[in-house]
Symmetry: C2
Subunit: 282 residues, 2 copies
């Protein structure tokens, strides 16, 4: 990859996900888990690539982090203990800390290199990792989750795609461990891929969450830097609550004041699914 090149994130070798002109290659490295690159572009700002897939850009990161974190956080009463699995860039931790009453956030990221480059090239995301309430663990999320029971109010699975190092974070067994690690009344959120370009994948992941939790609530958000620009997430609830009818509107309104994307109306709207997705879930 060189300055002046066009980078194209290829989808099935036929379509481009994000593409942009490389203004500068800031970092290239290889960790035990993946190739890590940080590239500068005048429109997106700094961009993190893992195995040549766009993970996060300065310009667009707020869509993803708002929706992965605030939707589950307002579906649980008084969240104090929160676990982020993956998410080494720090963006999800930053959003969790916007909720008053949070006492402890554990970040469990397998790849130290991701945390290190985020600290250097994405200070707006990673600055929060030095907060007193945050514990940064460089560890395998699957191993970690097996060893913790009834401990967390909210767990956000902030993973890469279900190929490569993150495959194990999409299985029914893993979601079962996540459920066990939640206290009663707790909520899990997970990124669940693109419904417009990989709908079968979305359906499969949702099914795995349902197998573990007995429920799974899919919701949507536009994310310009991810394939197709339309992304999905899902909640698994360790309660009988309905994430659309029973979320805490007051806390939702308070946190929305610090958000670029999320607000209580968006919270409800995100669970409305187009027909082609509804039909696939039947």
């Amino acid at each position: 990859m060189n300055k002046g090149d066009w980078f194209i994130e290829e989808f099935q070798g036929q379509a481009g996900a994000l593409s942009f002109k490389v203004d500068e290659v800031l970092f290239e490295g290889e960790s035990p888990y993946q190739k890590v690159k940080i590239v500068k572009n005048s429109f997106f700002g700094n961009v993190m690539l893992l195995d040549d897939l766009v993970m996060v850009t300065d310009k667009d990161e707020f869509f993803y982090h708002d929706m992965l974190v605030h939707v589950p956080m307002v579906c649980v009463d008084n969240p104090e203990n929160v676990l982020i699995i993956g998410g080494g860039d720090g963006g999800s931790v930053r959003e969790v800390l916007k909720h008053q009453g949070v006492k402890r956030v554990v970040l469990c990221e397998i790849d130290k290199m991701v945390i290190d480059v985020a600290r250097k090239y994405f200070p707006d995301l990673s600055n929060c990792l030095d907060d007193k309430r945050v514990e940064v663990m460089v560890a395998d999320g699957i191993k970690y989750i097996k060893e913790h029971k009834n401990e967390f109010d909210c767990i956000c699975v902030d993973s890469t795609d279900p190929i490569g190092p993150a495959v194990g974070l999409f299985t029914p067994e893993f979601y079962g461990y996540v459920k066990d690690a939640l206290r009663v009344g707790g909520v899990m959120s997970a990124q669940t891929e693109s419904p417009s370009w990989t709908l079968e994948r979305v359906v499969g992941i949702r099914k795995n969450i349902e197998a573990a939790f007995g429920n799974a609530y899919l919701y949507l958000c536009p994310i310009p830097c991810y394939p197709s620009g339309l992304w999905s997430f899902a909640l698994g609830m360790k309660s009988d609550k309905d994430p659309v009818k029973d979320f805490n509107i007051e806390r939702s309104q308070i946190v929305a004041k610090q958000c670029k994307y999320y607000n209580p109306e968006i919270h409800k709207a995100a669970f409305c699914l187009p027909n082609f997705i509804r039909d696939a879930l039947k």
Copy 2:
């Protein structure tokens, strides 16, 4: 443009909107208004490019046409006469005809070449143009609209971007003529560009609609093949109705049975705006 090339729709020379591999160039021509190309790609199907900007793809066209047409059509009582300005591919006409009770649809497209290539390369969009209720006019939309008063129940402005031949379809004067061409109680919809990448443009267009109609209701839809994947539309209402509270749910449910994207819940959700757009509209 050659077979095997990657096509990149460049945004400000720095970012890619859609990019894809060119499997075959089916048509290249130049009309008095623009360069017209039809390209084949194994993932998107046939793609229409006008001045090298992606207008429509087989795979994704339903997002746009569902939302440009059904949202206004269910906001008006008993729509019988409908006008499409632009939209020479026929997709919007096809959606209008899904509403029972429609007696007449006028398609006013300035560029005959667009209609001709759509008939040849996009039969699923253009087949409806042979319906008895449809009048295909090759004419300047601005000239046409000035000559018609109190005639249409619904007008959809299905234009290209506000650069090149379509600039005149985004002015307060034009929207004023559209209002005059609507009967009392009628509704206009218009595509209003990308809120994530060209937010100032969205704000400006919305202001122009409001100047003419005294109201303007912005709504959103993901469109994978357009820049950033997130798109906006707006309604101008020649009535005091609220497009979220007062739309015809029964007709919305009926038409949704023939749609891949649109349904009554999506209708309401589309008007919920993220904070960064809300703030820009203040």
